[in-house]
Amino acid sequence: MTKRYPDGTVAVDRLSLEIPDRAITVLVGPSGCGKTTTLRMINRMVEPTEGTILLDGQDVRRQPVNTLRRSMGYVIQNAGLFQHRTIIDNIATVPRLLGWTKQKARARAAELMERVGLDSALAKRYPYQLSGGQQQRVGVARALAADPPVLLMDEPFSAVDPVVRKGLQDELLRIQDELGKTIVFVTHDIDEAIKLGTKVAVLRTGGRLAQFAPPAELLSAPADAFVEDFLGADRGIRRLSFFPSADLELQTAPIVPIDADAAKLASRATAPYLLVTDLDGRPLGWSEPDRLTAGAIDPEQLLDFGRPFLPGTDSLRTALDGAVLSPAGWAVAVDGEGRAVGVVSQQVIGEAIRAAHSRVAEQAEVKAGR
């Protein structure tokens, strides 16, 4: 579809996208790339000049505009809450529009507050009494209130600070796991796009599609210089987020407890560095073997062990980050309780990265051959 304004500006230029069901599609691009206009054409806040939008095969213009909008959740930047209504009544807006009784709508709203992680004590508060992050949660709850199959989100998290934003993103992914909505998400933040998107559409200024692909593919094979530039300098590192760390070969030999005796220390002295743990097995720090004296290990003298990773859950990126952060050049793997389960060198991580790359390349060949 195309959107051309009367003054001749083309906001969206012959864009054609197939948005997957029950997945998050992110529209990302610099300001003026038409991403918000595209989103607003889906619920007809903006009417396309040319082209059509099909929802389950049906033109969105075939049903009354307000019926269409009530079937799509809509979340905007700064939440756009109604300041004269309490939190619970804000969330109950669309059910009330659909003719639900006040009681039923409020019961549903209370359920959603829980779902988005809002304390029920906030129900009778007014928006100005909430923090920015809480307001945005209310915005999401309000959009979900009538259980719409489609959720349109227009830069919903860009006005909150990075820590709160990360919390909201994680929360959205969790909710999406539970509900499986078809979400169209607009952002100018490529990191947010890569984190949230099942598929990411990169738009360029002038409203043209530059690339539409899953985030891992975007990072490994940007379509052109514009996409590559937009992804930023460290896309190689960021791509590692999509490779699991589960297959890393961990070593346990260089791990010694703080109460290790002389014999044990001597038997491990071949390793360049030893990881000292406390009596529960939690890492304390690295040391060169000859600097350790049995019975007199001072935790203050140990080298920083960086940030440990969880082999099952974390990606190769986290593992590599841990190895780079530690002066020893080794990453520490821990279990859910924070106990060291193994260590791995930068070299081994490097081999794992190469292996992962060649696996992806093979898959791409198989796909191309088919």
Binding site: M45, R69, L81, F82, L97, Y128
Partner: protein, 222 residues
């Protein structure tokens, strides 16, 4: 005798407290004229102000009308209407309404227009019909300002409704006009005091109305 003595003399004279020229009768007349004028002005100005504010169109035309309305002298208009139309309530109402429309119109327009656009966008995006967007999203937030416009109009009406007495109607203006004619300054001061008192009471009424109708979520701190 100073002003306070005049006032004391006026209010302590029991003859001023009953009969067709008594304070309760004149008070009731004055309130009736004022309410009628405010009601007519609100019926004209509120819908126009709400609609122009909602659509954002016609702001320049409004400013023009408002300035013209404010420039017309109420007393001159009263005499003009009286000579045109003759005796009746209409020549009294016209200047009062002309006086009250501009503040209601302009503040209502500005109040609706200055509502944060993001909840309005959200409301439309959720499929709220336009009338509801105006009445349930914009008006509740604009209400403190709208009430402010009505209050300004009401106070101007209360103080100006004294001119009704000039063309033989009642109201508190009666005391002022008659007192001046009879050189009875007790009456003049008493009438003026009552008008000022009624203006203050109007303020109090609007304060109470805004406490009752403005949502705590909008009121906060203001």
């Amino acid at each position: 005798m100073n002003v306070l003595d005049f006032a004391r003399a006026f209010f302590s004279d029991s003859a001023h407290w009953h009969g067709y020229d008594g304070i309760p009768t004149r008070f009731a007349e004055h309130i009736r004229y004022s309410l009628e004028a405010l009601l007519i002005a609100a019926v004209i100005a509120l819908p126009v102000g709400l609609l122009t504010g909602h659509t954002g169109r016609g702001g320049n035309a409004l400013a023009l009308i408002a300035t013209a309305g404010r420039a017309l002298p109420s007393f001159g208009l009263l005499v003009l209407m009286f000579t045109w139309i003759g005796f009746g309530m209409l020549p009294v109402m016209i200047p009062l309404v002309v006086l009250a429309v501009p503040p209601i119109l302009v503040t209502t327009y500005e109040a609706v227009r200055s509502v944060d656009p993001s909840p309005v966008d959200a409301a439309r995006g959720m499929g709220m019909p336009e009338a509801r967007v105006l009445l349930q999203v914009e008006v509740p937030v604009a209400l403190p300002l709208i009430l402010g416009g009505l209050r300004t109009a009401a106070i101007q009406i209360v103080s100006t409704a004294t001119i009704a007495a000039y063309i033989s109607f009642g109201g508190l203006g009666r005391y002022i006009i008659d007192g001046l004619y009879q050189k009875n300054y007790e009456k003049v001061v008493g009438g003026a005091t009552l008008v000022a008192g009624l203006a203050l009471a109007t303020l109090a009424v609007f304060w109470a109305v805004s406490r009752l109708t403005v949502s705590p979520g909008v009121r906060r701190g203001g």
